[in-house]
């Protein structure tokens, strides 16, 4: 019994080892990428439910949609890219830039896939809240508060969560915001609190509405469900307005315009065209 057990163990190790080596070898030796067009028949990754997800689907088309893998988190998609499981990750430029700064061997393709606008999402028919938020948002745009918040997070994440005034104990009740706090610079969980453009903007809105801002952190693909069920008052997570989403949700005015959607690739797998 003992002997055969060991022999089996050795055999299992050898087999697994061989499989690992084969898998590692299989991902090498392909031609380098040079432009977005080539992604049409490549393995792609995106965060589930994001615009990157839909763009990747469009890019691949019906025939090769099996080449798309969607993940819960950007970190997972980028890990898949680095491990050679996919050739590119389609995502928003702002978080992509942050990955580029702290993870080796990544590059952005020079062309962007599209430009998007971010807005705050509300339950369909919740016009009263939407109008009040729009008013507050317009005021913050007019007096430069919003621009100052966006400037503040330009590559700098040293803001402490406790320095953001969530207007605790406000008389007007709570303003519950759903978000996915893995989308810097828009929202990020730090310790037991949150920082980011969306967080500070929502805090400013809550203040103008005389409400206390409460943040619910969930998966991005759970956000539409949370707002339409009334679990949260609004969702604010760098959400792009699309025709499809408008069918199920109401949106505030845009607070960010021209957010680029990009393809993140491995630097050693990409040859940018000359002059770019």
């Amino acid at each position: 019994m003992r002997k055969s057990g060991r022999a089996f163990g050795g055999f299992a190790v050898f087999t697994l080892w061989a499989v690992l080596v084969l898998l590692a070898g299989a991902s090498q030796g392909a031609e380098k990428l040079t432009g977005i067009d080539q992604l049409k028949d490549q393995k792609l990754a995106a965060q589930r439910g994001t615009i990157g997800h839909f763009l990747a689907e469009d890019l691949l088309g019906e025939d090769s949609k099996a080449l798309l893998t969607t993940y819960e988190k950007y970190v997972d998609a980028i890990a898949a890219l680095r491990q050679g499981k996919v050739r590119a990750v389609i995502m928003d430029e702002a978080p992509a830039q942050r990955f580029l700064r702290s993870v080796e061997n990544l590059a952005l393709m020079h062309e962007s896939l599209s430009e998007e606008s971010y807005a705050i999402g509300f339950r369909k028919g919740n016009t009263e809240l939407r109008e009040r938020v729009d008013e507050a948002l317009a005021a913050m745009k007019a007096d430069g508060t919003l621009a100052a918040i966006i400037d503040k997070y330009n590559g700098d994440f040293s803001v402490k969560p406790e320095d953001i005034d969530l207007n605790k104990g406000a008389r007007g009740g709570k303003l519950i915001m759903g978000t996915e706090a893995g989308f810097a610079p828009y929202e990020l969980k730090v310790g037991s609190g949150y920082i980011g453009i969306d967080i500070e903007m929502a805090a400013g809105i809550a203040k103008r509405l005389d409400k206390e801002l409460v943040i619910e952190n969930m998966n991005f693909d759970a956000l539409p469900m949370a707002v339409s069920s009334g679990k949260v008052d609004m969702i604010c997570a760098g959400i792009t307005v699309t025709e499809d989403r408008k069918k199920n949700m109401d949106f505030s005015a845009n607070y960010v315009e021209g957010a680029r959607q990009v393809a993140v690739v491995r630097a050693d797998d990409y040859e940018a065209p000359a002059g770019k």
């Binding site: 970190v75 989308f183 969980k189 949370a226």
Partner: protein, 280 residues
């Protein structure tokens, strides 16, 4: 949630299988060699890797007290597991007694049907789907209810269904002769059940209840879906913060493993103690 029946204890009350000496050694060897192989493959033994590891470790867990995120997550995981287990125990006991009493001839057809429905539905659907339904459908408008409490309720009700089956199995594993003997001595059904059958059943099921607790501990890792920063989610939050992929996950896995190992050892000792009176 199912694990092999512990009701059949060899001759000394020690469970069989992996603890058999030969197989234990071989499996340990497989794991060890595999681990080393993977480590070599990922460049773990290259000189720069260790410095890198230290830097990343500092960044992931030490800088700005980020380990506190894991501790907070651990607290959420433990409180969910603990309170859900309590709910599950009470509920499971009640349900199993209903089912056993019905089979024993009590006229509680409606209660028994409800108990059956409960067990069928909650064991027949994934706990994660149940969690989403509790949070986003049933408690959709109850906005002042703490999400953690919803999760405790969801996990507790789910666990109750399994615990009910564990208890029923335990009660039915007691020799019917015990009940017959009690009744023939003139004791009522209730007294025989409470004084003779249940104590024996309890000894049978304690290890399985512990296993249920261990399973639940791991199952709470889906709570992140409804916005609870449990241990798993805490690891993901650190990932989003440092953009580092593997270390936070491995750390989370190690914490779960440590807890499960401690609990498993407790079960083992408990089993031994419970069966100390068995003739060997």
């Amino acid at each position: 949630m199912t694990s092999p029946s512990p009701l059949d204890f060899g001759d000394r009350g020690v469970s069989r299988g992996w603890s058999r000496p030969g197989r234990g050694d071989a499996s340990l060897l497989v794991c060890g060699v595999l681990l080393v192989a993977i480590l070599i493959h990922s460049g773990f033994f290259s000189p720069g890797a260790w410095r890198d590891f230290g830097e990343k470790f500092h960044q992931n867990f030490i800088l700005d007290g980020r380990y506190r995120m894991l501790l907070d997550g651990l607290k959420a995981t433990l409180s969910m597991t603990l309170f859900a287990t309590l709910i599950g125990l009470v509920l499971g006991l009640v349900i199993s007694v209903i089912r056993v009493a019905y089979r024993g001839g009590a006229r509680i057809g409606l209660l028994n049907a409800l108990a059956n429905l409960y067990i069928t539905v909650l064991r027949g659907t994934p706990v994660m789907v149940q969690l989403l339904i509790w949070n986003f459908s049933i408690f959709a408008t109850a906005r002042d209810v703490n999400t953690l409490h919803i999760a405790i309720l969801a996990f507790g009700l789910n666990s109750g269904a399994y615990v009910a089956e564990i208890f029923r199995g335990g009660i039915e594993a007691v020799d019917p002769g015990q009940m017959e003997a009690g009744r023939s001595l003139g004791l009522s059904y209730r007294v025989t059940m409470l004084r003779i059958v249940l104590p024996q059943a309890f000894r049978n099921v304690v290890p399985m209840l512990f296993n249920e607790f261990i399973t639940l501990l791991k199952e709470t890792s889906v709570a992140g879906y409804i916005g609870i920063d449990d241990l798993t989610r805490a690891g993901q939050n650190i990932q989003a913060l440092t953009l580092e992929h593997s270390q936070p996950l491995v750390m989370v896995a190690l914490i779960y493993l440590a807890m499960v190992l401690v609990l498993t050892e407790l079960v083992r000792r408990l089993e031994k103690w419970l069966h100390r009176s068995r003739r060997s």
